[in-house]
Amino acid sequence: MINQHMRRTITLASLGALTFTLAACGNQTSDNQAAGGGETGAGSSELSGSVVVDGSSTVFPVSEAMAEEFQREYSGVRVTVGVSGTGGGFQKFCNDETDISGASRPIKQSEIEKCEQNGVEFIELPIAFDGLTVVKHPNNDFVECMTVQELKTIWEPEAQGEITNWNQVRDSFPDRPLGLYGAGTDSGTFDYFTSVIVGEEGASRGDYTSSEDDNVIVQGVANDENALGYFGLAYFEENKEKLAAIAIDDENPDNGEGCIEPNAETVGNGTYQPLARPEFIYVKKSSAENNPAVQEFVNFYLDPENNGTLVPQVGYVAVPDQILEKAQARFENRTVGSVFEGGSVQGVKLNEVL
């Protein structure tokens, strides 16, 4: 008897719990639909469909901002943005699983081949600039500017265990231990920094404090008077009271004489070299042709007004109009392939090659 009763209670309770949760979700969704319906009424277009974006975590904030504003205008389109890193993004992209892939470096030769194997043709578009900033503790008053050669002395693999004092970098520097902070080996920032400073992608000393999370490096440098670190410009701009930037001299008068401070202007006009880097999106050609939502989203992305307002809002430098126009033309003509041909972005002037 008790057991019969017991069983019924269990069944009822489980059913009750299930109904409760489903009902809760149901309410939630119907609320949402009501809200969505209202928005559709106010929206300007009948455009519908989905846009699948994935890729670099550096490009993510830009794509998120674009998706947010785009869906405000075209509420029938479903834009989703994932983060799986530049390399992980290309894996999915070349596997024909996404429409657009964000990248903080140009596509590599091996990735181009994989895309070719799977018949994925891509259009390469620069959408923002980021400046890698070399930073120090604000109490450090002996270093204002460094040359690329000096940075190389510090960061090349041979420096490991050898270069441990500031006075080994330049004779005029005081006798102080060198505290190094930098990007983790999985990040695009690391790839880029090593490739332009050391001269070989991935070649770096290993005895420094590394993190994939730039906020950790910010904390490290802010708490070490002898620190030297590097990360994206946005992280420096947000922490100006805790950090100071070191100007960079690439000893090449062609792109600005002497020491160049990192800021929106020098990154945008190409004088902050070699540490200013373009960020890209790669658009699948077939999606651009067959999916009007993708086409409209990329147009929105490349619109000078949207690019000029949204990109700085999330901490990057907008693409100059001149280059943006060329990118638009590239997308319009469906020009496939990479202008870097699998190589590095270093020394390539976007304005000329696009």
Binding site: C25, T29, P61, D214, N215, N239
Partner: protein, 308 residues
């Protein structure tokens, strides 16, 4: 020589009758364990206070009803918490059916053979496999091979992956709960002519049910905070729509995100405001966890009272 000495010693100590000294020892132990308890509680308390101080300013209705945004003051948690509820409900249903089912089979029906033992050891091992491995398995099995059914990187594929992750834990705890039911009950039932199924259904299952629920709670609490397997399966970071509840088949095939992924994304932003938004997200995640656990504890206590 030495052994004789030690025997002598133990005999001596056995004859110590000093009651006060033994009470003192008891008190020392009590204080030590009290301190041990408080270390954990104080750390948790500091953490909670820190998170609440950081996050309370962004925690309002808009935070729960808005989708994510590039502006911290407009950024919302809606797609994340709704995604987590979807994931948890489906995971709970799937893992309960499969996990409790296999637990009952292994404990009540399977013969005690060598391959049953191998299965047993392997399930124990599976419970310790790093979660990312399940993510990769889920990516291949549910996202790629079963794409026509799951719709690719969908909430269903995510839930099935999560179920895989926690099923070993549920099997182990189900078996423990069944073991705790005295054998005399089973023998009594069988002696009266009941079949094995009837014995399990009428006698054993109701008694073991509260214990199974405890296992369920622990397993789901693990699942709600997991990110790695879901990122592998392709949970998104920015999404501004929700799965449809009707038709459910379409809802299940919708892309999704969950709370820990959204929190992680906000924490890694440069803007300090986003770190506060992340703290608000942590508060919501904790509240959800607490709510889930209290519902399960409520049911467990209810059934325990009925039985005894």
């Amino acid at each position: 020589m030495t052994s004789a000495d030690s025997i002598q010693k133990t005999e001596d100590s056995q004859f110590q009758t000093s009651l006060r000294k033994r009470y003192q020892q008891g008190n020392v132990l009590r204080i030590v364990s009290l301190i041990a308890t408080y270390i954990g509680l104080v750390v948790l308390g500091v953490l909670l206070i820190d998170v609440v101080v950081d996050g309370i300013s962004y925690l309002d209705w808009g935070f729960l009803s808005n989708f994510p945004s590039r502006k911290p003051e407009e950024a919302g948690f809606k797609s994340a918490w709704v995604g987590t509820i979807w994931l948890m409900v489906i995971t709970a249903i799937v893992s309960f059916v499969v996990g409790v089912g296999s637990g009952i089979f292994l404990e009540e029906f399977a013969a005690d053979t060598w391959y049953a033992k191998i299965i047993e050891v392997n399930i124990g091992n599976l419970a310790a496999v790093p979660s990312i491995i399940y993510g990769l398995l889920g990516l291949q099995a549910f996202v790629r091979v079963m794409e026509p059914l799951t719709g690719g990187r969908s909430v269903l594929a995510g839930s099935l992956t999560m179920s895989l992750l926690i099923i070993p834990i549920i099997i182990v705890s189900t078996r423990e709960a069944l073991k705790a039911v005295p054998d005399s009950l089973r023998q009594g039932g069988i002696a009266l002519g009941a079949t094995r199924w009837q014995v399990v259904r009428e006698q054993v299952f109701p008694l073991a049910f509260p214990g199974m629920l405890t296992g369920m709670i622990l397993a789901l609490s693990r699942a709600i905070g997991e990110t790695a397997p879901l990122i592998a399966v392709g949970a998104l970071t920015y999404i501004a729509f929700l799965p449809d509840i009707w038709p459910i088949t379409e809802g299940l095939q919708t892309p999704f995100t969950v709370m820990p992924i959204q929190i992680y994304n906000w924490v890694s932003r440069p803007q300090a405001e986003f770190h506060s938004v992340a703290a608000s997200g942590i508060i919501v995640l904790m509240a959800a966890l607490l709510l889930m656990n209290s519902i399960a504890i409520f049911f467990r206590n209810k059934f325990q009272q009925k039985i005894y």
